[in-house]
């Protein structure tokens, strides 16, 4: 058996290193290392509670407003207030803008360039895919960057700027939208829809969103001159519809009032019980005791701990690993196409990418209805008192999956702050029972000899990892 070290893994957000034990050219076991520690949970202790709104967005430059939304929810919980109706719509719009933009960035800039690699030169689709998706130089970039920047203009109206906005508050938003601005927001949504329909799908969002089975999907994609169909063709050719399965347990905190919260296991959806979440530090360079619920969690560095191999903790649900992300959301929401793909082959590279596309198609039209529902003149922000003592929980869905903040306040200051980010779930290390995390499971059996196809690259990036959130 030989051990190899793979890294730096670029085109993920942040730094990532993976150790692979190989047997006969295939992965026998994998160890995922999040090599950067920043200690945000300690930065927050001792600060004024509302300072969390300025601090937590800086955990992540790509899930920035998701972090804001989680903190605002936790603070609202502690204050015993709820956002106004306009405030809720604004928050949906701001988080959906980030989440959909992240799906787009992932597909075009992080994920697809691997298919332009010379290793695929012999495949029929390679020439066209390389011209379109080559890193930086492919001609898709010249179209997707303006589409992305144009879509982010929504943030100029709704959140002042992106990333790192203070607009999301416990009671809603600091930025009331006027009647004329609603018209401009709708125009921006139409502009982005036009890009998605022409370039990404080659069809209307509605037609794509109606596909209900793998057969329908592949028949729809055949010969269709657009970017996602091009991926599907390559994915099926390479067998990526059957590669990358992890534990096939999925968790979602629910999003936008559109996708419900829940846990999906073996085709059964059960309610999400946040009390069943705990974090284990056995394999992290952190002082470890028994696994703890995040409301009692601690993050204490132990850089010389024997047997540890990452800065990432291991979140578990009822002691089990869970995969989070767009696929989890769409399974818990019982979308027929997501269900069909996972029932056949389990979670795969293709299913994870497909689920992000489903969200682009399903959430963008919902955004237009939220804009139309805004009531200019009605309040965008509710107000309340921050208690001197209290606690709160905020569970939201970032692009990459469930994000939880647990905070407690003592003598008017933050006393404890614990965060579980989506990639903390997906890229978690082994726990006290030796149970590997989802990516560590998904890599087992993949080819890893020097001239092997870059399948590992696809599987890792199919999770759209955000390493800066992972360890925070």
């Amino acid at each position: 058996m030989t051990r190899i070290l793979v890294g730096p893994f670029n085109r993920v957000e942040g730094d990532l290193e993976i150790s692979l034990d190989l047997e006969q050219g295939r992965v026998r076991s994998a160890y995922v290392n999040s090599p950067l520690f920043r200690g945000f949970e300690q930065i927050l202790v001792g600060r004024a509670p509302l300072d969390a709104l300025a601090i937590v967005p800086r955990i992540c430059g790509i899930c920035s407003v998701a972090q804001s939304a989680a903190a605002a929810s936790a603070l609202a919980d502690a204050m015993g207030i709820a956002p106004t109706a306009n405030g809720i719509l604004s928050r949906h719009l701001i988080t959906a803008t980030e989440n959909l933009a992240d799906h787009l960035t992932h597909f075009y800039l992080f994920f697809m360039p691997d298919f332009a690699r010379p290793a695929y030169a012999g495949y029929g689709w390679h020439g066209a895919v390389a011209r379109r998706f080559a890193a930086i130089k492919g001609d898709a970039a010249a179209e997707v960057l303006p589409a992305r920047a144009g879509f982010f203009r929504l943030m100029g109206f709704l959140a002042g700027r992106w990333p790192h906005s203070l607009a999301i508050q416990p009671g809603g938003s600091t930025r009331a939208i006027g009647a004329g601005e609603r018209i401009r927001l709708l125009a921006l949504l139409r502009e982005f829809r036009s890009f998605l329909e022409k370039r990404l799908f080659g069809d209307s969002l509605a037609n794509f969103g109606r596909l209900a089975s793998k057969e329908e999907l592949l028949a729809w994609a055949a010969g269709r001159p657009a970017d996602f169909p091009a991926f599907l063709q390559a994915a099926v050719d390479l067998g990526l519809d059957r590669v990358g399965r992890a534990g096939d347990s999925f968790l979602s905190a629910g999003a936008y009032g559109l996708f419900p919260a829940g846990v999906w296991q073996d085709g059964t959806i059960s309610d999400l019980d946040p009390i069943a979440i705990d974090e284990d530090s056995s394999s992290a360079w952190l002082a470890a005791g028994r696994a703890r619920h995040p409301a009692q969690g601690e993050t204490v560095v132990d850089a010389d701990k024997p047997g540890a191999y990452t800065w990432c903790k291991a979140p578990r649900y009822g002691g089990q690993t869970c995969e989070v992300g767009a696929l989890a959301r769409q399974l818990v929401a019982a979308h027929p196409l997501a269900l069909d793909l996972v029932r056949r082959d389990g979670a795969s590279v293709m299913a994870r990418v497909l689920a992000r596309m489903l969200e682009l198609a399903r959430v963008l039209p919902a955004m237009a209805t939220w804009v139309q529902a805004l009531q200019p003149g009605e309040p965008f922000c509710a107000h309340g008192e921050m208690p001197d003592e209290g606690s709160g929980t905020g569970l939201v869905e970032a692009a990459r999956g469930s994000l939880g903040h647990w905070l407690s306040i003592k003598r008017g200051q933050i006393d404890r702050y614990q965060i579980i980010a989506p990639t903390t779930w997906n890229f978690s290390p082994r726990d006290a029972n030796g149970q590997p995390g989802p990516l560590e499971q998904a890599l087992i059996g993949l080819p890893a000899v020097p001239d092997a196809l870059p399948t590992i690259q696809h599987v890792v990036r199919s999770f759209d990892p955000c390493m800066v959130c992972t360890v925070h």
Binding site: P8, R38, P146, F152, F157, L158, A303
Partner: protein, 333 residues
């Protein structure tokens, strides 16, 4: 100009922001100015051994590049080991890579306030991460490379500070370097390019009428000036955020929330709650830096007494409740 980009103790948000560059797509904008990403962790194809070999060649001076852009604080801990960030695949501290690469760079750019001054990573009580900026530890010169560091072009580290940086700040500074070069006179006293840090966030603020009359917002989402009560530091922060819009039409102030002076060294620990203005005897402590306090107090008292009803009422609402009067033409033709 070949740009080598590395990330460390930061959030990656400056890259995400840069990708929002408008009006031209970022890659075309830079390519036409002769700027290429030699390697960028979020954008380039090469990974693993291939990327490491390239970085090693650059660090040994065997492979030429022009600009070193670093995004994120330098994490020297624990105990000086740099183990809070070992670059993946290399087993070596990122701080060591930066030191080796900086020796061969014509320009070294700190992208974002973390990289320039340490930022939030340097803010944990006691700084257990031993985090710092490339050439500053908050306001104090030094940092990872030391106060005397000069790149091959003879310049200190160029601090494109901001949390995050505006895409235009990065693009314009790189293009200035590529097309005309940069001189010490292009930078302010904490190393920031004057092309964006030569004025104040206050300049061009859409809430200026409220500021003039000291008609202040009292709670989040109010339209009034955010300086008196809600922590705004736009009159002290160096940047052009209200002249150079964010994401098409935005800025922090236009988004309805306070400027927290994210381009300034040490902004992350202001000594008070971010969204609250500290006051002494009812008067904000953080007044404009170049105005005698007595003048400000006198002017504020005068302007408050002269505030029109429209401005006074709108300041504490989230939408205009009184519209400007339309002047009727009087007299005949």
């Amino acid at each position: 100009m070949k740009v080598l980009w590395l990330q460390s103790g930061g959030c990656g948000g400056c890259t995400q922001s840069m990708l929002c560059a408008e009006p031209r797509p970022l890659f075309e904008e830079l390519a036409d100015a002769g700027i290429e990403f030699f390697w960028h962790p979020a954008l380039s194809l090469a990974s693993g051994d291939e990327a490491l070999a390239m970085l090693e060649d650059c660090a040994e001076g065997r492979l030429a590049f022009d600009a070193l852009c670093i995004e994120g604080a330098m994490l020297r801990g624990p105990n000086g080991s740099g183990r809070f960030h070992l670059m993946a695949g290399s087993g070596r501290p990122l701080t060591e890579w930066v030191k080796r690469l900086a020796r061969h760079a014509r320009w070294v750019f700190a992208i974002g306030s973390c990289t320039a001054y340490g930022g939030f990573s340097a803010n944990t009580p006691g700084n257990p991460l031993e985090a710092c900026g490339l050439q500053y530890d908050e306001e104090t010169p030094g940092g990872l490379l030391g106060a005397n560091f000069r790149s091959a072009a003879g310049l200190p580290v160029i601090n494109i500070a901001g949390c995050p940086t505006h895409p235009g700040w990065v693009v314009d500074t790189l293009e200035k370097a590529a097309l005309e070069g940069l001189a010490p006179t292009d930078l302010d006293e904490v190393g920031r390019p004057l092309l964006y840090a030569g004025g104040l966030v206050h300049h061009g603020c859409a809430r200026n009428e409220f500021y003039e009359f000291k008609a202040s917002a009292e709670k989040q989402s109010d339209l009034g000036c955010l300086m008196e009560n809600l922590g705004c530091k736009g009159t002290q922060a160096h940047a052009d955020c209200n002249l150079r819009p964010w994401n098409g039409s935005g800025s922090c102030l236009r988004g309805g929330f306070a400027c927290i002076a994210c381009t300034e060294p040490g902004f992350e620990s202001p000594g008070h709650a971010f969204q609250q203005t500290p006051k002494l005897a009812g008067i904000p402590i953080g007044l404009p830096t170049d105005m005698p306090k007595a003048w400000f107090v006198a002017l504020a008292a005068l302007s408050k007494s002269a505030t029109p009803k429209r401005v006074r009422n709108n300041a504490v609402a989230d939408h205009p409740v009184v519209l400007p009067v339309i002047r009727k033409k009087t007299g005949g033709k």
